[in-house]
């Protein structure tokens, strides 16, 4: 769509596209360790039922997926495979890092064979802390990802920029904020809508620091 490329798409239409994208997310389950079981509980068990959020946990290959949920310890031996998987996914793509190990190494922070965080090999959108996080926490992470997608400025993404919200682009165009303006990072809750220039940074479920 040439219109989107140039960032000339009318805002309501962009919102519509974003909303459709955010409610038909196909997730590739990259289950690595303990968190994989909690991810399985969130995605596969009748009690948590992720499909009601519009997330389809069934793609057979990363090539069909919209976002990947990396859950568990990434070891140095596994890291090339994770990177390969990320490259196989088509744009637009997102990543959820689930569990302390994928966030920062977790209990194996001093190990000789563990990669200290999956964000060293792929850009992470949502961090879900916990060891392992409860399935509810993963669901909140997914809801936050959907909010992030709904507010995304796709034109900026295709220009190759960092993640930018629609509101932020508008504000920059109107001259209200500098493009490198100071970013506010505050505790986020599901109930409040993201403010215009908040949260271009990756989101941490619960709002705390990752470490």
């Amino acid at each position: 769509m040439g219109l989107v490329d140039k960032g000339r798409l009318p805002a309501p239409l962009t919102k519509l596209f974003n909303m459709s994208r955010s409610y038909s997310l196909w997730v590739y389950q990259w289950g690595l360790a303990c968190c994989a079981i909690e991810m399985g509980a969130a995605f596969g068990s009748p009690r948590y039922d992720v499909m009601r959020l519009g997330v389809i946990p069934l793609p057979a290959s990363p090539r069909q997926a919209d976002f990947v949920c990396v859950s568990g310890t990434v070891t140095d031996k596994m890291a090339p495979a994770v990177k390969r998987l990320w490259e196989q996914m088509p744009e637009p793509k997102y990543a959820i890092s689930m569990g302390s190990c994928a966030n920062c190494g977790g209990p194996y922070w001093d190990s000789y064979s563990v990669t200290k965080g999956v964000d060293q090999i792929l850009p992470v959108d949502i961090y879900v802390p916990g060891c392992p996080p409860r399935p509810e926490a993963l669901l909140e992470g997914i809801v936050l990802l959907q909010q992030r997608i709904k507010n995304e400025d796709m034109a900026a993404k295709w220009r190759g920029d960092e993640f930018t919200t629609l509101q932020r682009t508008r504000a920059v165009e109107a001259g209200e904020v500098d493009r490198d303006g100071e970013l506010i990072a505050e505790t986020h809750s599901i109930s409040e809508d993201p403010t215009p220039d908040a949260r271009p940074e990756p989101i941490v479920v619960g709002g705390g620091p990752i470490e």
């Binding site: 140095d76 031996k77 190494g105 922070w109 001093d110 190990s111 000789y112 064979s113 200290k116």
Partner: protein, 224 residues
């Protein structure tokens, strides 16, 4: 329930006494002679023997012939105290001179590296831990892999972690680590780089809790 099943209802055999363990050691000594260097019996608990490096494989054969058919594990141990300490010392405290004396454990030893293995007799319900010294300069022992098939992977792991070679092993490739990995992680002189960069944050754990007096023997033993 299917018909083709058997169940066991007979009472378990009597737990092995120390007499049995002494008998096992005597039996082993009769089979391998001088290769058996030392033995130790923990009362009503366990038995250790140490054999010479050359006697490692004959001892395995003798044990298998004596009924220890179940292979439990095989691994190595590095008796040198870690030159880096445990990495959890109080950073403000006066540094203590590290203890560099090599002290071997049960049944002793003469070298820094040792291999040890455990095999079990499922009939007599008794297990035995067998140790052998490994020469520091040429850390090689004979392989058990043609004796106990399960030893194959354990020896690969041991080779990777300690750099101990096994004569006669079919395939000593790396199992866990990437092929380009350097060093032997379980040797004590292998540093954990993350710990060098960042001090152990868990030091606060061993300090007394604010509300409690620091009596030495409290009912609460946990510190996690």
């Amino acid at each position: 329930m299917s018909d083709d099943t058997t169940t066991t209802e007979d009472a378990p055999a009597a737990l092995p006494g120390d007499g049995l363990r002494e008998g096992i050691v005597d039996d082993l000594r009769a089979r391998i002679g001088d290769a058996l260097v030392d033995s130790h019996i923990a009362p009503n608990d366990d038995v250790w023997v140490r054999v010479t490096t050359a006697g490692w494989r004959p001892a395995g054969e003798a044990l298998k012939a004596a009924g220890f058919t179940y292979f439990c594990f095989l691994s190595g141990i590095d008796w040198m105290p870690s030159p880096y300490g445990k990495g959890e010392d109080d950073p403000d405290a006066e540094p203590v001179e590290p203890d560099t004396e090599i002290r071997q454990g049960v049944t002793g030893g003469e070298t820094r590296l040792q291999v040890f293995a455990r095999v079990t007799d499922l009939e007599r319900h008794v297990g035995i831990t067998i140790k052998a010294d490994v020469d520091d300069d040429a850390p090689v022992v004979d392989s058990w892999s043609s004796l106990y098939a399960g030893a194959n992977w354990h020896e690969r792991e041991c080779h990777e972690m300690f750099g101990i070679g096994f004569n006669g092993h079919p395939d000593l490739r790396n199992m866990y680590l990437p092929t380009e990995f350097e060093g032997y992680p379980l040797r004590k002189d292998f540093p954990l780089l993350a710990r060098m960069v960042k001090p152990w944050p868990g030091i606060v754990d061993v300090e007394p809790m604010p509300a409690q007096d620091d009596e030495d023997a409290g009912a609460e033993g946990d510190s996690s």
